[in-house]
């Protein structure tokens, strides 16, 4: 009996933390009067405008500063495909490659070196851990969580007073495992080669009925067109070379040696997976 092994590549895919439709920007921004970005978004988040320039995969940005209804942005991705702000009515997704928001709220008391919220939050259930960042939105200061109880967090610096808005976040990407088949692959290629769309790689399978796979990623302003495609090809081969019982091969990550912004954009890790489907 001939039978293919069941093999997969496992990616760390960023979770969509917010979606919406933009209002008219007045600069390189995302404006949304219905949003409350401060409750969900922190600097260095990735914004994917999926509406503009759709044949080139949309347009992507990283977040510089955050207010309730406005994000100041820096365009990323292929230089020729970079946008000038998320236009009116464009739909957007936001991802958090550096932080995971645990809890948002408003302090209900002033207590030295503590953040108190007695409105019904449960910091333990929210997953807040010692070492997480505690951002005082009102006072524009950040400190570190030193202890955790249901309604109170010990903090390293005495920055919180009654009625301050706060955001607690872990210093890790808000991502999860997402695997896609690496057996029965017939072709891996960039989407729309030659159209400056090198933020999507397509996987074609041997079955005539298969719909194929798509890997969408974000990266800084410079990269070689073939870097991600080559990395996926290598991952397919590596996954098929593992013993049959190693079903999922963890994608080892990819740094971008071509990028001049490699050292400054999100700590040098230049490729982030936004959608695997």
């Amino acid at each position: 009996m001939l039978s293919n092994m069941e093999k997969f590549i496992n990616f760390k895919q960023l979770r969509v933390v917010k979606t919406g439709a933009a209002d008219t920007p007045t600069g390189v921004q995302l404006k949304d009067a219905t949003a409350d970005f401060t409750t969900q978004v922190l600097p260095n988040a990735i914004v994917w405008d999926r509406t503009t320039n759709p044949t080139k995969g949309g347009e992507m940005y990283i977040v510089d500063t955050v207010t309730a209804t406005e994000l100041a942005l820096t365009p990323i991705g292929p230089v020729s495909s970079q946008g000038t702000g998320v236009p009116n009515l464009a739909t957007y997704n936001i991802y958090m490659p550096e932080y995971t928001v645990r809890q948002y709220g408003r302090a209900t008391a002033t207590e030295a070196n503590f953040l108190v919220d007695a409105t019904g939050v449960d910091f333990i259930a929210a997953g807040v851990k010692v070492g997480d960042s505690a951002y005082d939105i009102t006072g524009a200061q950040t400190t570190t969580v030193t202890s955790v109880s249901v309604t109170k967090l010990g903090v390293a610096d005495d920055i919180f007073v009654n009625n301050d808005y706060f955001l607690i976040s872990a210093n890790a990407a808000d991502d999860h495992d997402k695997m896609i088949r690496s057996a029965d692959v017939s072709l891996i290629e960039n989407n729309l080669v030659g159209s400056n769309n090198n933020n999507q790689v397509n996987i074609t399978y041997t079955s005539v009925n298969a719909s194929g796979g798509e890997v969408v990623y974000a990266y800084s302003a410079e990269a070689r067109d073939e870097d991600m495609r080559n990395a996926l090809q290598d991952a397919v081969v590596a996954s098929l070379e593992t013993p049959w019982s190693a079903v999922a091969y963890d994608f080892p990550g990819l740094l971008n040696p071509a990028s001049g912004t490699n050292a400054t954009w999100l700590g040098g890790k230049d490729f982030f997976f936004l959608r695997i489907q």
């Binding site: 039978s3 069941e6 997969f8 495992d177 997402k178 695997m179 029965d184 079955s207 298969a210 719909s211």
Partner: protein, 114 residues
């Protein structure tokens, strides 16, 4: 290898549940499409949609199914069927009047193949 997950799902009377086999051979990708649904796409184009009775935000259900699939596929080829109790499921007792059925709590609502 032929491999299946055996998953409790509400039976036709809508009260008790029986186990149904779902193939995990030839999977292309698994996606949590809503807070109550996970879709398994096969490489031949077919799809299986698993629907939960209670909501769990993504990626909770996705990771649950992916973990079960990986575990089942990593087992020996003679372990054809792997039991998968869906997130939130609580096993109940067998129902004598309905052979094969059990009064489980929170089995899947439906398993639909397209």
């Amino acid at each position: 290898m032929e491999k299946f997950l055996s998953i409790p799902v509400l039976d036709s009377n809508g009260t008790n549940s029986q186990n149904q086999l779902v193939s995990i051979t030839g999977i292309k990708i698994i996606t949590q499409t809503t807070d109550t649904a996970v879709r398994i796409d096969y490489v031949d184009g077919k799809q299986t949609l698993l629907t939960w009775p209670a909501a769990y935000s993504a990626p909770i259900l996705l990771e649950s199914v992916e973990t079960a699939v990986k575990k089942a596929l990593a087992s020996g080829w003679t372990n054809v069927v792997e039991q998968y109790n869906p997130k939130g499921f609580v096993a109940g007792t067998a129902v004598e009047e309905e052979p094969g059925s059990a009064a489980n709590t929170n089995p899947l609502t439906t398993i639909a193949i397209t």
